[in-house]
């Protein structure tokens, strides 16, 4: 890893580019600025994204706009219960090549830089699991042969929180592969008015290409060079550790806490946010801003917590509020002013 600190010029140029990306996306998806920021952070941290929201809130529009703005090739897979793993990864086909019959691998829709896995929880666990290798190792294996996926490779999956009959909730191992889980909420009346005024039914999302795939790769390399102070790393460790049973007040609602992968994801997302804000170092604020999207889908809640109406988001918020940023306490005679 290149640990050399970023220069002022690199920082300035990158943050300006990213600001353009966010601005362009905001022209497509109105009133979702925080969501767009989180999506960009997730992509810069090389993470996969799980979007949860009602139909018609613009999930597909967001993916299409991203592919245009970032210059990435995108494909959409509509997950259904009868979808088979081979349908998304690709299948070997028997073909006649120079008089010989051979199995030639035909890549599936997964072979794309930006994959929208729509309603991922409707597919069978078998098909869902086919995504594991692709998401973690950026490759698929068919008949013993490994096939690398194009870089950069992002999976943006959606799931519908209602109509849960006939669905297959994602297993914890699968959920852990997603860096962020974001909830999309409808905007207010003003946002709706803006959408009505600017969009036509069936019209494809507009958006100019701000970054090329190569430039995106370079930006992602810059993310790795963002400095993570020891005190911030300590905060990340304490935050993740506090999610385990008995380690905090909030953990009373948690059956199983977050994994080390969550801690790594928090650091990566914090770095991406710092870069997006034009800083060469991560701060407590960066970690707090990305903690809920990183942690909420990784926490397995107790049964009583679900009965009380708690969800991952609320418990993760409680954790962030409970764990102090500074590891060392102040003496009672002093207070922060």
């Amino acid at each position: 890893m290149n640990t050399e600190a970023l220069t002022e010029i690199e920082l300035k140029a990158t943050s300006e580019k990213l600001a353009q990306v966010r601005s362009e996306l905001n022209q497509v998806l109105f009133g979702q600025e925080p969501l767009i920021d989180q999506v960009v952070i997730c992509l810069l941290a090389r993470g996969h994204l799980l979007l949860e929201g009602l139909p018609g809130l613009g999930k597909t529009e967001l993916v299409r706009a991203l592919s245009k703005v970032l210059g990435l090739e995108s494909k959409r897979i509509q997950f259904t219960p009868d979808l088979l793993p081979g349908d998304i990864t690709g299948n070997p086909m028997l073909q006649d090549v120079d008089g010989e019959r051979k199995f030639i691998f035909q890549p599936g829709p997964l072979f794309s830089q930006l994959v929208l896995a729509d309603e991922i929880n409707r597919a069978s666990p078998k098909t869902q699991s086919a995504l594991l290798e692709a998401m973690q190792e950026h490759r698929v294996t068919s008949m013993g042969e490994r096939h690398a996926l194009p870089e950069p490779f992002f999976v943006l999956a959606t799931q519908n929180p209602i109509e849960l009959e006939g669905t297959y909730p994602l297993p914890e191992a699968q959920l852990d592969r997603f860096l962020f889980k974001l909830n999309i909420h409808a905007g207010g009346a003003a946002v709706l008015q803006r959408i009505v005024e600017n969009r036509q039914l069936g019209e494809e999302a507009k958006g100019a290409e701000i970054l090329k795939p190569q430039e995106l790769q370079e930006v992602m390399q810059l993310v790795k060079r963002i400095y993570l102070p020891e005190v911030v790393a300590n905060y990340i460790a304490r935050l993740v550790h506090a999610s385990h049973k008995g380690e905090s007040e909030a953990s009373k609602s948690i059956k199983y806490g977050a994994s080390p992968r969550a801690a790594i994801g928090l650091a990566a997302a914090g770095r991406a946010r710092a870069l997006m804000q034009g800083r060469e170092n991560v701060s407590y604020e960066d970690i707090k801003a990305v903690a809920v999207p990183v942690l909420q889908h990784r926490l397995v809640l107790e049964y009583h917590a679900k009965l009380e109406g708690l969800d991952g988001s609320k418990v993760a918020t409680a954790l962030v509020e409970e764990v102090p940023a500074h590891a060392d306490k102040l003496p009672p005679v002093l207070a922060e002013s």
Binding site: A325, H326, L330, L334, S337
Partner: protein, 406 residues
């Protein structure tokens, strides 16, 4: 920031012990005040406890010591610098411009002043709270016999003026201290009062003896000085012998004269008056006179002798100088004797044991005519006793007397 936080931890660990130390110190001071003894040991003990507590707090503080990265991190958060200070300290990025705001830490006055005020309250209470009334009653200096103070003051005065050797005055003080050590309820017992009287009497006797010796020596020297030309050698020798007696008297006994002066006196030889330095003799004479006067003043101030002379037989509430001595001196004391009255001779038959039968003006019945002879024999028979019974009393008178004594 580091200093403030570290001092804050020091205070956190130190303040409870400080309060405890001050409370203990206050309690000790209070107890010592009750016992009417010096409170300095309590203060020293309290100070020692505070020092030990401070050292303990310092060692405990070391565990909580704030490191530089944490301190910069706190400043970053307080000044909203997003950890730019921490990064710059680690060599990443430039040092940011520091804001004008003060260090984002404030002291909680209650936590800081509370222990101090509480401790001070304990100490003030211990020092300024009045003692219970029953404790005031035990002000022993007011209750001891007044003669103790008088004698002690006299000893101090004699020491201060360097009139006598210190051994005697120190011995007197030691004896007084022994009396003081007795239980308070025995201070006015007859035995204690008699012991006090003995001390007083002894001091008076010794002082008067020394004072008279100094007076007489001074007068002797004056006589020698003024009449050195007329004095014969025999007279000079007699004076030298008398001086020798005085020197011995002043150098012995309960109170001894100042050794320096005594040594100067020893060097005086009245048989060699012509060779002696007249100025030195006069100075010695003056010193003796002054010392005698100073001693008299001290004795009068102590009430051991009175201003208008000290005569026996003057009783009173101060017990006076005791009963009059019935001496045969030509001048009698001022004691007024009862005039003896004899029984009327007409009622001699009614006389009882102890009645005075007759009063006669006569000489004392001493044997003035009796003279000793060689070998212890008596030259004359004398005029009393068996001789009077045999030679002067008639047989009828003998009979009456025998009847009476029967």
């Amino acid at each position: 920031m580091c200093l403030r936080v570290n001092l804050g931890w020091f205070w956190t660990y130190f303040s409870p012990w400080l309060v405890l130390s001050m409370a203990l110190c206050g309690l000790l001071v209070w107890l010592l005040r009750l016992q009417k003894v010096d409170t300095d040991p309590a203060w020293f003990l309290g100070a020692g406890f505070v020092i030990v507590s401070a050292l303990g707090a310092l060692s405990k503080m070391a565990d909580k010591r704030l490191n530089w990265e944490s301190a910069f991190s706190r400043l970053d958060v307080g000044w909203k610098l997003n950890h730019r200070l921490v990064s710059a300290w680690r060599g990443v990025g430039a040092w940011p411009d520091l804001p004008e705001d003060p260090i984002p830490l404030k002291v909680k006055p209650g936590y800081f002043l509370g222990p101090l005020l509480l401790g001070a309250l304990f100490l003030c209470a211990a020092v300024y709270l009045p003692l219970p009334p029953e404790t005031l009653k035990t002000d022993t200096t007011r209750m001891e016999p007044p003669d103790w103070k008088t004698l002690e003051a006299l000893a101090d005065e004699l020491e201060e003026q360097d009139l006598v050797e210190e051994d005697a005055t120190q011995a007197l003080k030691r004896e007084l201290e022994q009396l003081r050590k007795k239980p308070m309820e025995e201070w006015y017992d007859p035995s204690t009062l008699e012991a006090t009287d003995r001390l007083r009497s002894r001091m008076r006797t010794d002082s008067e003896r020394l004072m008279q010796a100094m007076n007489q020596t001074s007068k002797l020297l004056q006589l020698a000085d003024t009449g050195k030309d007329q004095l014969t050698h025999t007279q000079q020798q007699a004076m030298q012998e008398y001086l020798q007696q005085m020197r011995e008297q002043m150098g012995q006994g309960g109170l001894q004269m100042n050794q320096n002066l005594l040594q100067q006196l020893r060097e005086v030889d009245l048989t060699q008056l012509q060779q002696m330095d007249q100025a030195q003799l006069q100075q010695l004479e003056q010193e003796l006179m002054q010392n005698a006067e100073a001693m008299e003043q001290a004795l009068m101030a102590a009430g051991l002798i009175s201003m208008d002379g000290d005569f026996p037989g003057r009783g009173g509430i101060t017990r006076g100088g005791g009963p009059s001595d019935l001496t045969l001196r030509d001048f009698e004391t001022s004691v007024e004797p009862v005039v003896p009255m004899a029984l009327d001779p007409g009622h001699i038959e009614n006389a009882r044991m102890g009645d005075l039968l007759e009063v006669r003006e006569t000489e004392h019945g001493d044997e003035r005519e009796v003279e000793a002879a060689t070998g212890g024999a008596v030259a004359t028979e004398g005029g009393s006793g068996e001789v009077v019974w045999d030679q002067d009393v008639l047989p009828a008178e003998q009979k009456v007397l025998k009847e009476f004594f029967k």
